[in-house]
Symmetry: D2
Subunit: 502 residues, 4 copies
């Protein structure tokens, strides 16, 4: 029996990714780049090697498992993870993927950047977005705590959330969604009861990712005397070890099976107010913006993995007497994938530069609005593309692509979540409307394009300007109906502008 194919496998997600290296070089100081280049080379190997191997096991038979009761029948709500999983957690956080965004990198004597963190996230997601998800939740937790936490709270918890091997790590989590509400966070009913200075939470969260694994969770709840809707929600930090938290079940998800997503019941869990009362929704929306960037980064990771898997298979496999990669249709597909991947990568990392300013506090009010706009359109576009890429990778493999021995089915299953969590297309479209109606974000978008663009793009920008102005004048219902296709075109134009000027 002739061998089907030589094994064309990747051994380092970073090393051969010249485009990523180019992007990082562009956006990093030279010190930072030289640090990052060295460390990403190492992490890229680990991600393509043991982390990927553990991802396979975790996805198939080794996924997190709820131990709701102990052997004596006591409710314990522990989440079991396999030992390789623990190793991946350790290896990932010790790179500073969360910590060095907020604290100094010892070798450099200065803080890292989101850019560096997202580069790591992009590599990690090529192995498994389900491992990246807890990281992003920990990033959001760190953000909220660092920006809004009181001094005592920060002192107690932040070092653990930022741990890089120097102390016990507390992973984070953000619990928003409730059963009756879904994306409609304002409908939430979890209650924060105060006894003296202390708060105790009661109620249920429905998609509580990283439950049972996190050391602290950031939770939206309503104080007893607060008003209805999103303006009556406060943000609380809940230490997991404080108890009175039950996990009803872990969600049986299509993909990203590595992260335990739970239905959680608070039965009087000790909680600490973060920031001002009733401002929780506002804080959480900020964290959500960060999570949406993370989502885009994970999408890039899946796109990259899908592309390289397709490429390697096409190189290694024969049909009708020649290499797959020799067929024009195949070449066309691969070429289109590569082009789209590079454009989106460039666009996302450009957007991240603006985000660095926003989180630094050096951005103008307009830049903040523009930032949100870019995040909304890029989150949507990258997520949709990641599904398409995964699908193309499957088709490139033919029947093999549909078999779970190959990574392709997992890529598709994982990709699918990226359009769903952190806001579906509909939710993002409503965000676009809000930004246009309230901040005229469309004019900021055009202005930015004009500044960034090279000569040849003018006409397309003019056309977009016209379209946006017309759009801004529509009835709300008409806007809703057009918003999604508009966002797609905005994303493509943004990508082309950025890619041209590289």
């Amino acid at each position: 029996m002739k061998v089907l194919t030589e094994e064309y496998e990747q051994h380092n997600f970073y090393e051969e990714d010249k485009f990523l290296q180019k992007i990082l070089k562009k956006y990093m100081t030279s010190d930072m780049f030289s640090y990052a280049d060295k460390n990403l080379r190492e992490f890229g190997q680990r991600a393509a090697g043991p982390i990927d191997e553990r991802a396979v096991h975790t996805d198939r038979e080794g996924q997190p498992r709820l131990e709701r009761y102990d052997k004596y029948g006591e409710e314990v709500s522990r989440v079991w993870v396999n030992e390789g999983y623990k190793q991946t957690v350790k290896e990932t956080y010790e790179t500073g993927i969360v910590g060095y965004v907020h604290k100094n990198i010892p070798e450099l004597g200065e803080k890292g950047t989101y850019t560096y963190s997202f580069a790591q996230g992009y590599l990690l997601s090529q192995a498994e977005p389900g491992f990246y998800c807890p990281v992003t939740l920990t990033m959001a937790t760190a953000y909220l705590l660092d920006h809004y936490g009181g001094e005592e709270l920060k002192e107690t918890y932040l070092p653990h959330v930022l741990a890089t091997g120097d102390m016990e790590l507390y992973e984070g989590a953000t619990f928003l969604t409730e059963r009756q509400g879904g994306s409609d966070v304002g409908a939430n009913v979890v209650e924060a009861v105060s006894i003296g200075e202390d708060y105790y939470l009661y109620g249920e969260k429905y998609f509580a990712s990283n439950a049972g694994m996190c050391g602290v969770a950031m939770v939206l709840a309503r104080m007893e005397d607060s008003k209805e809707g999103s303006r009556g929600l406060s943000l609380f930090l809940v230490p997991w070890e404080g108890g009175n938290i039950r996990i009803r079940r872990l969600k049986d998800k299509l993909g990203v099976r590595a992260v335990p997503s739970a239905e959680v019941e608070f039965t009087g869990a000790k909680a600490y107010l973060v920031g001002e009362a009733d401002r929780g929704f506002y804080y959480m929306m900020e964290a959500l913006n960060l999570s949406r960037i993370c989502n885009a980064v994970a999408s890039l990771g899946i796109m990259r993995r899908s592309y390289t898997e397709a490429l390697l298979y096409a190189d290694g496999r024969n049909a009708f007497g020649r290499r797959l990669a020799g067929f024009p249709m195949i070449q066309q597909t691969l070429q289109e994938l590569r082009m789209k991947l590079e454009k989106e990568t460039a666009a996302v990392f450009e957007m991240v530069q603006l985000y660095e300013k926003v989180t630094n506090g050096t951005a103008s009010f307009e830049e903040e609005a523009l930032n949100r706009l870019l995040i909304a359109i890029m989150k949507k576009e990258t997520a949709e593309k990641s599904i398409e890429f995964a699908h193309e990778a499957i088709e490139m493999h033919g029947g093999n692509g549909y078999i779970e021995d190959f990574v392709t089915p997992r890529l598709l299953r994982d990709a699918q979540v990226l359009t769903v969590w952190e806001g579906t297309a509909n939710i993002l479209a409503l965000e676009l409307l809000r930004l246009i109606n309230k901040y005229e974000a469309h004019t900021l978008f055009i202005k930015m394009l004009r500044e960034k663009s090279t000569d040849g793009m003018e006409k397309r920008i003019d056309g977009m300007e016209e379209r946006l102005l017309r759009f801004a004048g529509l009835e709300e219902t008409e806007k809703e109906l057009e918003a999604k296709s508009l966002m797609k075109d905005m994303a493509i134009l943004f990508e082309d502008v950025i890619y041209e000027q590289l």
Copy 2:
């Protein structure tokens, strides 16, 4: 805790599907329709009820399992299926989904039609395409045996393949693909060794669906003295009980987990030649055409299920103070889904009418070519749409849509195979080229459109004619690069023409 939603569930896949009823009425004699209407009503209930319930179990924990060795260590290569699975097999075949295409329906005193069979397939696929797959393989087996089998072979096996409860059922299977070849069937190496009048097969098949469950398999193999390539392949009937067949493993597929797809080794399996030697590839391509229609029908099933699940969820679920179905964006999505579903359903059943002629032997040579063309473009379009529909159903459910407790993830996983098996988009594009180059099928296509169309469509048809003529004159490589987008537009135009004249 407020209830998330009342349970909006379907109880009969046929009863509320007025569009299907309209289509069937149009294409069936009144006797046939009245028979079909009654029986589909019953089958639609069963499919939405117990068959769907068993599909869930079969997909998750109860999937077919290979018992390669018995307890004494002897190689047995048995496939275990759960008891509900057996019940579904029984209930499905006894409707005559295969049998009545080739033999009389007792109540009517005449044969059934493919139209009726596909209506059943469409309902069944709403529960689980993985259950429909073995049926379609049995259909292909019946077709091959009925059209090309010698008298003795037909006498022995055909009644079992067509069994409707009157005798032991032999499910069928078609084994084409080999490890080294994939879609390149001509590269096959399974050998048929003759000893006297008998043939014995040696070699390996790589995607052998229904292995271990089938009573007879139709297998392509090369006789010792036959030439290389597809013109040296002969078709054989292999009775499973004849032995000397090993199942190496069952494929761990992303979806359609109900059908056991295996890697099979023939180690001297007794085989009977079907039709003429060296004509096997030709026969199998005919069977493949049938399978592609089945594929389109399964796609329609997934689209229908996705649509109704999305609709019911949108009706039952509240967000931001109103029913989901009250939001313009949601209404738009649902409306677009419904429209596309109806158009594709109409187009596929129109295509089936031509197929009835072809298999009746009453079609002209041109009609045969046109039929192949339609099959290629509709197979491609419906498969791609079924994935899109499944994706939309997930998004409509938000986070819930990603959870395996809902049917949506299974719809996506199942849909994904439909673009892959029976020919990927690339393979179908090559088929288009062949039909245009060899039979000028593009002119037949335009001619048919003109005949079928109502007045308003002329311009679009003219445009397509122009494009096709230009396309037919391109270099092969250029053709390859354009073929897939062309096929999509052809499919859409065909659908619109058919839908308009309903």
Copy 3:
């Protein structure tokens, strides 16, 4: 490769069991025997065939599974069982294994007997005691309802509990054990709160077998004003559909995996008082006596299966140039097993005759005490022997015996429960003490032996009498220390006496 062994398999558990037939003939009227013989022949085939096959699946991958929440997150506490399981339930109850103990056998125009029911249980247990367990719980439920239920309760529920295909079957269950109490039932704390005439249960049961499958459960609970200890417990019938019952989890048992054993929480379940208030413990102890006989019958089933498996393997397998069965050591083992099996079978069915009198209400007070004594010693002895038999069957198979492809590991795992539930050896020893101290049951035992025995046994009976009298005079602590070895000797003597006079 030479075949390891021809397949020596059983096809009917009844047909070749001449000893059982002899026993049944002895204890049944001729009409009853001729009915039973015909039906057991059929059931013996089913038990050795499909029921055994389903038992394998149910034990390994198909065991009952808790669905605690539905897809919408609502607590439902449903127990899923596989479809073959449902078929076994149907096929078993329709033989009248429960029903005909309490209602007429249509063909005979008279009620069946426990003897007949136990014969069925003995056959069923050869396939799987885990399937017999729910039956025995339903027997206990029927017993309690028939003897102590009020008229209305009986009218509503008894026909369902006794259903033989004529109406919907309600399986039964008996919930005694609590987490803090275990065998110490008097420590129970489940509360029955009365509101008007109705009762509602609150609290937790810890080994609730058949939870989720039963239609009605018989539950011990304490009324609000009842005293502590076993004398404050009342018996309630709880209809499962009445709701407010949660299943926390199913026990992950070593064996008898077919029966779902649960931790159950009552959160206000509607309940109906059975019999008089505060007499529940007394009623339940009666039911427990029945369950202990069932336990002995299941033990016989395992012994029989172990013996026949060992015998067939020894017949079929060669080692060192001859059949295993040709070795003296093997012959000796098989002979000892057969002898013990026959003695215990005879003794248990003899004991059952007395039990028939007791439940008929025709037994004297002394006979009732004697009956309890026999049940205690025979429950203990048969359970211990069933483990030994299973162990011997494993050893007879050598390494194969340890492999789950063979039935032997399951026999051992199942057997192990029989010493544990319905009272461990220690609990049974305390029962012996109680019967001796309170009813002088030891003298009744000796009297009975003298009546039943043939001539040659006198000396042994004299010896036992002496020993019992001495024992009865010991301090309680000394009694406790000797009780278990005494019971063993009593059991052996009883068996020998009964066996001699056959």
Copy 4:
């Protein structure tokens, strides 16, 4: 709800085992003891902690899994083990459990002893005999290689087999059993074909423990021109990486699920002759003696764990108003278990002292025969007792003891193998007969007892002498029938003699 019990758990298997410490002190030099005491304290903690935790996972969901084919369909026959498993392997071998029997302990500058190795095995088996099994196979491999391997072979492989972290570890394995033969090793048919100086194996082994995990396997095979029966078997070393080895399947064992036991096919595996041709059976019987001691040690481990689990549960659990441990029956059981455990531990370690002499080459011919006798009777007795202990531990826990959340079911499942592998009771009885008939081993036994015994034992020894002499004069068939009960009594007397003189 009141808590069922405080958690009474062990944290170090060595520290509280004063009896073991006493035994080791007696049999070790003071340097060795002080080294051992320190290291066992550490290992005892690890075994009771992480190793035990991993054992639970490995037994339930994480057991070794065969990957027979890679994703491309190539036969690879890899065995997957979980990452914790690998950690346990590392932690165990680095203690020198195998290595230091054959090479110097760096801290001491001298070799370790079997006594020390067995002490480790006894602790490890308390966590999981399934982890100890591969160790014992590696011990046997080291023994065979060290004693009989040629210089080149030893140089190449022995350092790896003895690795303690200094180089890559090659675990060992011994493949004897074949499908048709079972214990009748002389019936083996695996063939060694020589091509020039090299050997290549063909054929099948049926219980090949540690297949896929081992670096080298010691395999019995028959050279082409060798005679039938056990005298025609040669011993070969097969490096696993040499290829041409297929694993058909892993055995689905009742217990010791940690060790992968396989059906293996050699299809031309490269092999190296160990020692002289045709002497393989003789060598392997020596290795088997070592394995039988390991088996006895594992039995002690299970007994110890069973005893401590029972003790702790009885201490922690209340019933009928007092601690379980307060009941006379419970005290009696615990006391009997402790006594038997200590006696067997003492007897086994006494026997090991003689074994040290035998493997040192300092034993007389008579001592060798006596050693074999002791091994046979002690293997049998300890294995049987380990089952009994596990059973008692279950009963002590009542219903809980039957639930897999507790360690008790695993103890029983694991114990069960100990009577089966390395020779069933029947096989051991035949060994006794051989030793008596050929070496008058019974007189050596009596002589040894007289030397070791304290005054009070004379009468019992006289009785045994008389019985043995009578026994030695019986017909073979009569001997066979009495052998097993005789062995039991010999074991008990031996234990009592050793225990008395402690």
